[in-house]
């Protein structure tokens, strides 16, 4: 006879086995069409480029060397690859500035939304959600129409006589920045709003009662309390901004490359799949570092999110 304990153990084992079976299809699809291929990218980054794209199955660290270095065709000496470094720095800079810009605009917006009456809050949330779920390409295209030489911005500037010739915004870093800030703004607002909604305004009142100024209350009470939301929003904006493909290729033109365009180039005209792979892994590493920083920070503040 099995004891009650043994019966319970067996039931638990059955339960765990059933749970594995239930989750198997999802895990399998993700393993095959998302996670697994990343490992192949890692392998490819250590191979030799083939003549017409793809690779030769021959180990070579060359792709990793070329991520930041350039080999001189004549004397084989290595020097810093200025083009790649420029693109890396530009991508990181644009992603950081986009994050800061969306934070500067998104924080007050989330605050405004969270301080409305309970009924109207839903409406504001809905209004922020609509652009969020509107196709990113369409939103980028909408920005393109606003900032191009014949667009609204230039028409107004010309009519008001502020400029005498249209300002070239399109196909510059500024255009990419405007576009990214525009498309990623809801990603910043939503998590900050989620934190802000839970804010206990009695603490704010206590601050004022103790003669704190508005700015001091904002800095010493509100900001620390919603910091997890701010960090979550920053991560949500920074990661897609760093790997952005659609916005820079539509608004940046051919010259203002970002990492994604550089990677695409290696798989297209460049026919250097190992270099493209090494660059992809590098992007992943930057993202992972950002995520780790987030996890550590979220752990420290002791607030569960998401």
């Amino acid at each position: 006879m099995a004891t009650a304990e043994e019966v319970a153990k067996a039931a638990e084992r059955r339960d765990v086995r059933a749970r594995w079976l239930l989750s198997a299809p999802a895990l399998l699809v993700i393993l095959l069409a998302a996670t697994g291929p990343l490992l192949i990218v890692l392998v490819y980054s250590f191979l030799t480029p083939g003549a017409y794209g793809d690779v030769k199955w021959q180990f070579s660290p060359e792709a990793w060397v070329s991520v930041f270095m350039e080999r001189d065709i004549f004397d084989d000496t290595l020097s810093l690859a200025a083009a790649h470094v420029t693109i890396f720095l530009r991508s990181i800079k644009l992603a950081v500035v986009t994050t800061l810009a969306t934070l500067a605009l998104g924080f007050p917006t989330a605050y405004f939304m969270a301080t409305r009456s309970e009924k109207t809050r839903d409406l504001w949330l809905f209004l922020i959600t609509i652009p969020f779920w509107t196709n990113l390409l369409i939103r980028t295209f909408a920005v393109l129409q606003i900032i191009r030489n014949e667009g609204i911005v230039n028409t107004i500037l010309l009519k008001l006589g502020i400029v005498s010739a249209p300002v070239q915004i399109l196909y510059t870093d500024t255009a990419i920045l405007i576009g990214m800030a525009y498309v990623y703004l809801p990603l910043m607002v939503l998590p900050i709003y989620a934190s802000m909604e839970k804010l206990d305004f009695r603490l704010v009142e206590a601050g004022y009662d103790l003669y704190a100024t508005r700015f001091k209350v904002l800095r010493k009470i509100i900001f620390p309390l919603v910091k997890p939301g701010v960090i979550a929003g920053s991560i949500l904006v920074f990661i897609p901004a760093l790997g952005a493909y659609v916005t820079p290729s539509v608004l940046g033109g051919g010259k203002n490359m970002m990492l994604s365009n550089l990677i695409e180039l290696q798989f297209g005209q460049g026919r250097n799949w190992p270099l493209g792979s090494a660059l992809s892994i590098t992007v992943m590493i930057i993202v992972m570092v950002a995520l780790l920083a987030y996890v550590r920070n979220a752990g420290k503040s002791g607030v569960r999110h998401g």
Partner: protein
């Protein structure tokens, strides 16, 4: 305290918020207005006209791409939702068991990796399989879309499950309902709003994808977004505005529906 002192007020915040909402909607509104422009260039206004909608409607490339988008989106969203529902049932309302953390990480993995990286990874992997099997149909796009839709379908379903306690299911089991009957008569009806929300979210996500589709598709497999990207790169005509406007209306309709489905009974 003076009556005009509101503790919730912060100077300038309302103005910035107002600017944000105006800025968010202005470009979209301009885009929609220019879809009704009779002129053939987007820089001047030639009067109200529906001709660009008509021309998009008669453009076989646009119709093909739209059909393909819907086909991929419908299949991928359905598969992703079924798999996500199963996975959500397997990962909620349970004491921790070995592998649970791994499952969370695996299911959310597509959200953590930049799309461009997933795109090239699938390009490499699927091009190998293409050479190996000779198959070059829509299966690759469907597989890719299913994979990145799973976490989006999973989120609302899991959220709904976590708010459901096990009492009713236990009661059903006490009344000798089989596990399948309990699932069909109790769990599924209660879970249904979450499943519906997950399905809609997955469909919108699939419909929106440009980057991964761009890298995975074979020749002649344009979806609506990749077709539009190609057109925008070549130079803009008001036809793109018309297509965008139609697409936009669809997204807004789905989001509105989603908003009400997920709000209900919460």
């Amino acid at each position: 305290m003076a009556s005009n002192f509101s503790i919730k007020h912060q100077p300038g915040f309302t103005a910035i918020a107002a600017t944000c909402f105006v800025v968010l909607y202005l470009p979209i509104i301009v885009l929609v207005i220019y879809a009704f422009n009779a002129a053939s260039s987007t820089s001047e206004w030639g009067g109200f006209s529906l001709k660009w909608f008509q021309s998009a409607w008669q453009n076989t490339q646009v119709i093909d791409a739209t059909m393909r988008s819907f086909q991929i989106g419908a299949i991928a969203a359905a598969l992703a939702t079924i798999f996500a529902t199963m996975a959500a049932l397997a990962t909620t309302r349970t004491p921790p068991y070995p592998g649970l953390t791994f499952k969370y990480a695996a299911i959310n993995q597509p959200l953590m990796v930049p799309e461009i990286v997933t795109g090239v990874a699938l390009l490499i992997f699927f091009s190998r399989i293409k050479i190996f099997t000779g198959y070059s149909g829509l299966g690759y796009l469907i597989a890719a879309h299913t994979a990145f839709c799973i976490p989006f379908a999973y989120l609302p379903i899991r959220a709904r499950l976590e708010n459901m306690d096990l009492t009713l299911e236990r009661a059903a089991a006490d009344l000798y309902a089989t596990p399948w009957k309990t699932f069909r008569r109790i769990t599924l009806p209660l879970l249904w709003p979450g499943i519906l929300a997950g399905l809609m979210l997955a469909f919108v996500i699939s419909l929106d994808d440009v980057v991964i589709t761009e890298f995975v598709k074979s020749g002649g497999q344009d979806t609506l977004p990749t077709y539009m990207l190609g057109q925008i790169r070549r130079g803009i005509t008001p036809e793109i505005n018309a297509i965008s406007t139609a697409f936009l209306l669809l997204s807004v309709a789905i989001v509105t529906l989603f908003f009400f489905v997920s709000r209900k009974r919460d």
